[in-house]
């Protein structure tokens, strides 16, 4: 059932040590900056984070990593020009890394939300990222077996929520939002605006309210870090 809270701090309050947290965003688009900042403030540690990257510069996810609060990261592209906090932790053996092809990452997150126990995909077959995975020839192609990525919490950003929890997004900021909200046991979403039921056209809802647990309105969100 949907809860609309007053602050990002309230929204992230339930996150406990040891949680798996999905964090939306791709590049500067769709990053839930205020929710991540609230999580930094909140103090939960020993986290497993699911994100496309492993943080940039000295803020946001990079800050969380720098603070030693992330035990493991599951992502497709950790190495970036300014991912130095991740790089340092990784080379020091202080953070666990699971690199996943971006499409497998997306499909595994979708699978968690959709109740799919596992699926076969050709992506990654014959590469180091398939080492140790089950393989099988299907439809004339060698494929590997991939499993869902579940999470305790997701932190994502949308444009507008209605009071039924329905969400719409903006342009390429949509990215991981819908699938992470569906995959996480508790989905926490920051939006620029909360409107009444009936104010969103039911044809254009991207994330139905059933996937949304907590909404916080952040009217003027900061642009993501990248």
């Amino acid at each position: 059932m949907l809860t609309i809270v007053d602050s990002a701090a309230q929204a992230v309050e339930p996150i406990t040590d040891g949680s798996t947290v999905m964090i939306g965003g791709f590049g500067v688009a769709g990053q839930p900056v205020e929710l991540i900042d609230a999580l930094i403030e909140q103090g939960a540690t020993d986290l497993t984070v699911v994100n496309n990257n492993a943080g940039n510069g000295d803020v946001g996810l990079a800050k969380l990593i720098q603070l030693g609060r992330v035990r493991k990261i599951i992502c497709s592209f950790p190495r970036q020009s300014d991912s130095y906090h991740f790089d340092a932790k990784y080379h020091a053996g202080e953070i666990e890394l699971e690199v996943v092809p971006q499409g497998n990452l997306a499909e595994r997150i979708r699978a968690a939300g959709a109740g799919i126990g596992a699926f076969y995909t050709p992506t990654g077959y014959g590469t180091p990222l398939a080492e140790g995975k089950e393989t099988r020839e299907l439809d004339g192609k060698m494929q590997i077996l991939e499993f869902p990525i579940t999470a305790d919490f997701s932190l994502t950003k949308a444009l507008t929520a209605d009071k039924a929890g329905n969400l719409v997004y903006r342009k390429t900021a949509r990215n991981f939002g819908p699938i992470m909200a569906a995959a996480a046991r508790t989905s926490i979403v920051q939006v620029s605006d909360v409107v009444e039921r009936g104010a969103l056209d039911p044809e254009v809802v991207v994330t139905p309210g059933i996937y949304v647990d907590t909404v916080v309105s952040i009217p003027d969100p900061a642009v993501g870090h990248a």
Binding site: S76, P78, G103, E107, P122, I179
Partner: protein
């Protein structure tokens, strides 16, 4: 196409123009980060090519500058871009389903190595201390109907990047159908044969000298 010899090895821009000419009208295409993005400069509205960006858009327009920049509208290289009429947005799983389901007619990728079987290595140098980072490369290489590679024929050390067997970690198995290089265009036939379609600033023999397995001439 008959084999032909241009006067000199191609610049990246010239090579991009060669690739662009081979993309069929009406195609849905993903251009990888780096050199492949140059291809878009040589696609005309008459080509009616629709660009896909894996972060969740079809009908991607050109780079945005100045006032056009919208932080919510970027491409897979995280560069601000523009819309085109008829574009659409979708989430990451839908975007990758599109790639993985074989709906893109073509993707153009850079490479460290391609081998005669069409295996591609473009994501990891294999250095033991390198942090692995793959992004969407494996999905593109494996999912598109055709995977074109665009690269220099030789690495900085003079070694050919078209090899008998890739020694670097693979991105995809048997996925490359054509290799566009500054010195020649290669057709990967899928049965181990590699045909030199055309050469630039050199002849077949010069290309054969660089490539460590027997090539075939175009008929």
């Amino acid at each position: 196409m008959t084999s032909m010899t241009k006067d000199a090895a191609l610049t990246p821009e010239q090579l991009a123009e060669v690739v662009a000419a081979d993309i069929p009208a009406g195609a849905y295409v993903n251009l990888g980060i780096g050199q492949p993005t140059l291809v878009s400069n040589y696609l005309t509205p008459e080509d009616d090519v629709t660009l896909h960006t894996e972060n969740g858009m079809l009908g991607m327009g050109g780079e945005a500058h100045g006032d056009e920049v919208d932080p919510d509208l970027i491409n897979a290289g995280k560069i601000p871009v523009k819309e085109t009429d008829g574009c659409s947005y979708f989430h990451h799983a839908d975007s990758f389903a599109m790639m993985r389901g074989g709906h893109l007619d073509c993707c153009v990728l850079g490479a460290f190595q391609v081998d005669r079987a069409g295996n591609l290595a473009n994501w990891h140098t294999g250095k033991p201390d390198a942090i692995p980072a793959v992004g969407g490369a494996m999905d593109l290489a494996t999912g598109a109907k055709q995977t074109f590679v665009m690269m220099t024929l030789t690495a900085k050390n003079g070694q050919a990047k078209l090899v008998e067997n890739c020694t670097m970690p693979l991105t995809g198995v048997g996925c490359v159908s054509r290799v566009y290089t500054d010195q020649a265009v290669f057709l990967i036939e899928g049965d181990g044969r590699v045909v030199v379609r055309e050469t630039f600033g050199c002849d077949f023999e010069a290309v054969q000298e660089l490539v460590p397995f027997p090539l075939e001439r175009s008929e």
